[in-house]
């Protein structure tokens, strides 16, 4: 048998630098290397450092970027939309109330199909005033037509932001790369940084098909769109999201081949092959969960974890393939939908499972799925920066193992780490 040698990555180990960077520094570094045409941003805790450092790069002449220091996030996104419509590669960064203030513009950016890339440093939403991490801000934007990629640590934030540029331009959709406020944004981790030229080669030049500055071929963007056409354009947008599902792992693979990194996809699995119970989560908590899985596996317990990297588009089929065989699933949500039925990741996971299980039970796959499918339990954790400890995660796994062993599910969703 002939072994096909995998092509060597373009960037060699010697060309890489291992440095200690916080999440914010890693994102600012990525932005410097991307060298966007326009950055319009407004500082807000805990994202401030990204904007601050990038402003320094501009002042020091390290980038060619037109930096627009706007007076609000509403204007930041507006300026990015204008710049992107004119054909520029536009980027910004924000958090919390800043993202909330951008709300109406998020839909305009995606509706006009502008490939804007934004670093979102996740933080709770007021009230009450809290500057610490949760995913309420990000989840508020989940239906705005943006691709949402969660990064577990500064390395993933750096890598994902570079990939986001390519994904956005290929999918013609805006992308937000999300890091957990303070937990990742302000914590320093080892980060492997690639040479500037390599990053620029990977992202390539941006040549939009249409733009307002191509004066030889004038176009109108954002015209009034009444009942006779509006729905066709939304249909296109949903198709673009479906296409993005192919583009995201494609770019992840290209990135791995180019820089010699791990392959980025929709999710990363920890001991899922024979897991009886599993926990699924987003962002920094995935690392904590992984450590608990390792410790419990050492005790011979069949636990596993799914780190979901891409929330929009939602990788329904891929996720179900992984989860359908387990007996109990714990969904960790760092935001509450306040719907009185659980958090946003929980409802998506349950909906995805229902769709597949019901269909499959009526076809041929019955033997793979225990009657009734896996039990799904939701744990709301870490709101407003409340710490998620390894003990919390172990408590979740123990409960899931009990459920797998036949214990009745008493509450399908509950708060984790809250004082009763």
């Amino acid at each position: 048998m002939v072994e096909v040698a995998k092509p060597l990555p373009k960037v060699t180990e010697e060309q890489k630098r291992l440095v200690a960077l916080s999440g914010n520094e890693a994102q600012a570094e990525a932005m410097r290397q991307i060298n966007p045409d326009v950055v319009a941003a407004y500082p807000i805790t805990p994202q401030t450092e990204i904007v601050m450092q990038f402003a320094q790069f501009v002042a020091d002449g390290k980038v060619d970027t037109e930096y627009v220091p706007v007076e609000s996030e509403h204007s930041a996104m507006s300026a990015c939309i204008g710049a992107a419509a004119a054909g520029a590669r536009a980027m910004t960064a924000t958090s919390s109330q800043g993202l909330a203030l951008m709300w109406e513009l998020l839909y305009i950016a995606s509706g006009l199909r502008l490939p804007i890339v934004m670093a979102v440093v996740a933080r709770s939403l007021s009230a009450n005033l809290n500057i610490h991490c949760d995913h309420s801000d990000v989840m508020g934007a989940r239906d705005s037509g943006w691709i949402q990629i969660f990064a577990e640590d500064p390395q993933e934030a750096y890598d994902s932001l570079i990939q986001a540029v390519v994904i956005a331009e290929r999918a013609r959709l805006p992308v937000m790369v999300i890091t957990d406020g303070f937990i990742i944004s302000h914590a320093v981790h080892p980060v492997t940084v690639y040479p500037d030229e390599a990053v620029r080669e990977f992202i390539g030049d941006y040549e939009p098909e249409v733009s307002l500055l191509k004066v030889q071929t004038p176009v109108t963007m954002g015209p009034v769109d009444l009942p006779d056409y509006f729905m066709e354009h939304k249909r296109q947008q949903t198709e673009a999201m479906k296409r993005a599902k192919e583009i995201i792992p494609q770019v992840g693979e290209e990135f791995a081949n180019f820089f010699g990194t791990k392959t980025y996809g929709y999710m990363e699995l920890e001991n899922m092959e024979d897991a009886e119970v599993a926990v699924i989560s987003l962002g920094s908590s995935c690392g904590t969960v992984r450590e608990v899985v390792k410790a419990m596996r050492a005790q011979g317990l069949k636990v596993g974890a799914v780190k979901l990297r891409v929330f929009r588009p939602f990788p329904r089929d891929e996720l179900v393939r992984v989860l359908a065989g387990v007996q109990a699933i714990g969904v960790l949500d760092r935001a509450d939908s306040l719907s009185a039925m659980g958090g946003p990741l929980f409802t998506e996971v349950k909906a995805a499972l229902y769709d597949i299980l019901v269909t499959q039970r009526h076809t041929t796959a019955t033997q793979f799925i225990p009657l009734g499918g896996p039990k799904v339990v939701n744990y709301i954790y870490g709101l407003g920066g409340r710490d998620l400890t390894e003990e919390h995660v172990e408590e979740v796994f123990r409960e899931l193992l009990d459920i797998a062993a036949g214990k009745q599910v008493e509450q399908t969703w509950r708060y984790l780490g809250v004082r009763e």
Binding site: G111, V210, P218, G222, L226, D228, E232, R235, Q236
Partner: protein
């Protein structure tokens, strides 16, 4: 016959131009129907257009409660507030055979039935514009058409419509009772002066409505981008006009103020001089005429309806 078609529900479609009071008339009609113990809806249709643009409004009437909130595609009655729309819009589209079409026009119903090929329908005509000009001193023909509607369909009584017309106008014209009086006169005259004929044939040409096939989502440019320039020229907004500016080159002093203020670039220049008006795009706003120096008076506004009569 479908279950929907068997329902005893009366559906009405109004064709008018924004500003002619069709929405108000539809509201009065619904209110009057409620007063007579019927169940009713009045549904306006909104677009981006302004005064003068073709628009539609709808009514549903029934003795039984009903709950649908969909548009009306197969009306029992069509009311055409602006006769110009007879030639530009397929006003009879979906109209049920032997249904009513009530048109604001001085043309007698027999002639209207011939001229606009309305043989499968009962046709009623009334010169609502003339009545409106004589009673209200402006061309708002909605109220006389309500009177005509009551007379020919028998669905509502004149008295109820009088009550509701007065009530509707009460708020706005409390200090000008003469306006309310004039409207009530217009209503009564519409009721008295309407003429009608029965359907001549029950054969309806059932050909599918001719439409320009709109592109599906796969063919459209993504993001709603309009990929070519100057497409607004293709939008003939001249048909929205209620008043027409008449240009007199003998009186023009070539100050170009009209050209400067025209919101639709409808003042035509040749070698830097005003030579006329682009009636395909002039919406008849009258700004040019207002700006024309009083001593010159080279631009005067004339009612389209009066120009037609000549």
């Amino acid at each position: 016959m479908s279950a929907i078609a068997q329902r005893t529900l009366i559906e009405i479609r109004w064709h008018a131009r924004a500003g002619q009071g069709a929405k108000t008339a539809a509201n009065i009609l619904a209110q009057a129907a409620l007063r007579e113990g019927k169940y009713a809806q009045s549904i306006p249709e909104f677009g981006p257009e302004r005064r003068g643009a073709p628009m539609q409004a709808f009514n549903r009437l029934s003795d039984e409660p009903f709950h649908m909130h969909s548009g009306i595609t197969e009306p029992d009655i069509v009311i055409v507030v602006d006769p110009h729309l007879m030639d530009t819009i397929p006003v009879t589209e979906g109209l049920k055979p032997n249904g009513w079409i009530i048109v604001n026009t001085p043309i007698p119903p027999e002639e209207a039935q011939e001229r606009w090929e309305l043989k499968p329908y009962k046709v009623a005509t009334v010169d609502a514009s003339a009545i409106a000009r004589e009673t209200l001193r402006q061309d708002i023909p909605n109220v006389p058409l309500l009177g005509a509607f009551a007379r020919v369909t028998g669905l509502l009584s004149l008295e109820t419509l009088q009550t509701d017309t007065a009530q509707r106008l009460e708020k706005r014209f409390r200090d000008r009772p003469q306006v309310i009086e004039a409207n009530l006169r217009a209503l009564e005259r519409g009721f008295n002066e309407v003429k009608w004929v029965e359907a001549k044939s029950i054969e309806v040409v059932t050909s599918e409505p001719v439409r320009v096939a709109a592109k599906g989502w796969k063919e459209l440019v993504e993001g709603g981008i309009i990929p070519e320039p100057a497409t607004s020229i293709m939008y003939r907004t001249g048909s929205w006009r209620l008043e027409r500016p008449i240009f007199d080159p003998q009186k023009c002093v070539q100050c170009l103020m009209c050209w400067l203020v025209c919101p639709d670039a409808a003042i035509v220049l040749e070698n830097g001089k005003v030579v006329g008006i682009d009636y395909d795009h002039c919406k008849g706003c009258g700004l040019c005429s207002l700006q024309c120096p009083p001593k010159a008076k080279a631009l005067t506004m004339k009612l389209e309806a009066e120009l037609d009569e000549k």
